[in-house]
């Protein structure tokens, strides 16, 4: 994910220096996406170049603080009001892996699915544990973190459901496949297979 919008949103609160931005970002997202200071300063340099932030001088310890320009403030407003662009999210390696697993001959799809399911279940269990050990008590930072944990829980749960679905679909396809089609690695004739592939590519 680009940390650009995250940093801009934090600066809308008050001017900050690089290391401060890093620790605020991490504290508010439960240390789920750690940043390094280099990344933060690199982003600040780019934001300054684009006229979204400007330098506000140095604090007593000689650290340069940054604040939002009017353009930066407008950019943050735009971020809050527009939905997150799902199409610019990184490539989904798991979906790619399973798409390849069912088309490359000789891959034991069930085993690929089960290995992923076990790992995801492990993660879901650990997240559930963290969630039940978290007390919010009206603390906004704890609440922010709980929301991040729950987002990961929903994602893991949905991944397991999708894996169940993949397994059922692969089993059904194998059951209905003619011997000839099965050796070709697909239950459907090649002509039928083309259409959805093209649609998917068009979406990218």
């Amino acid at each position: 994910m680009s940390i650009r919008n995250g940093l801009l949103a934090l600066l809308a609160d008050q001017p900050m220096y690089g290391a401060q931005l890093r620790s605020e970002f991490e504290a508010r997202t439960g240390d789920t996406w750690p940043l390094n200071v280099g990344q933060v300063y690199q982003t600040l340099t780019r934001l300054e170049r684009d006229g979204l932030v400007d330098q506000r001088g140095e604090d007593e310890e000689g650290r340069t603080t940054y604040g939002l320009t009017d353009a930066g403030r407008a950019e943050v407003e735009r971020w809050w009001s527009e939905p997150v662009d799902r199409e610019s999210t990184p490539r989904n390696e798991l979906a790619i892996k399973l798409a390849l697993a069912v088309t490359v001959p000789g891959v034991d799809v069930t085993r690929v699915v089960q290995a992923q399911r076990t790992a995801t279940m492990r993660q879901l269990r650990d997240l559930t544990r963290i969630k039940s050990a978290t007390v919010t008590d009206g603390d906004r930072t704890q609440l922010a973190w709980l929301l991040v944990v729950e987002n990961l829980i929903f994602a893991a749960e949905s991944e397991v459901r999708w894996l169940d679905h993949v397994e059922a679909r692969v089993a059904r396809a194998a059951g209905s496949a003619s011997p000839r089609a099965a050796t070709a690695g697909s239950p459907e004739p090649a002509t039928q297979r083309q259409a959805p592939v093209r649609t998917a590519r068009g979406l990218r």
Binding site: T110, Q114, R117, T118, R125, I130, S132, W145, R161
Partner: protein, 198 residues
Amino acid sequence: MVVLQLSDVSRTHGSGDTAVHALRGVDLVVQAGELVAVMGPSGSGKSTLLNLFNLISSLTAAENVSLPLELDGMRPRQARKHARAALEEVGIRELTDRYPDQMSGGQQQRVAICRALVGDRRLVLADEPTGALDSVTGEAILQVLRHRCDQGAAGLLVTHEARHAAWADRVVFLRDGVVVDTTGPAPSAESLLETTGV
């Protein structure tokens, strides 16, 4: 301490060409203080596994609920008293003297939950315990189950819902009557919080 141990358990429905091997050589151990979830699609054998512990059809609700207490060494009269109190607590006193085949599926499920949670038990068995219940009640039941295990009981939970299985310490995956994988034991909440730096 091992509370429940299944060694090489097999179960076959039917015979000859139509025989279905619902369980094939299942090994499973549940320790005191541990909640183990068994996950699998329908037909994987997971329900057969817990049917080994289903409501007994020749016993009434009260007798079914008091049975595990008696097996734990409680005097029958006292066990029956606990059972009646538990049935009342869950709001199904009217089922006390009914046999399983005189109840609906939902009622049977509630008697089974009652049996699973009655008294100070060393072993708690739950088959889709939240199946016929709304999600809030379902979560409450899982919390009770989790709490019992944290207090030292051994728990076995059968489910196809990932978010329910996530309450367990260990998840065992069943497929075509065979254990195909397990998550292994869970790290403590403290160590999880440490690794995330909070």
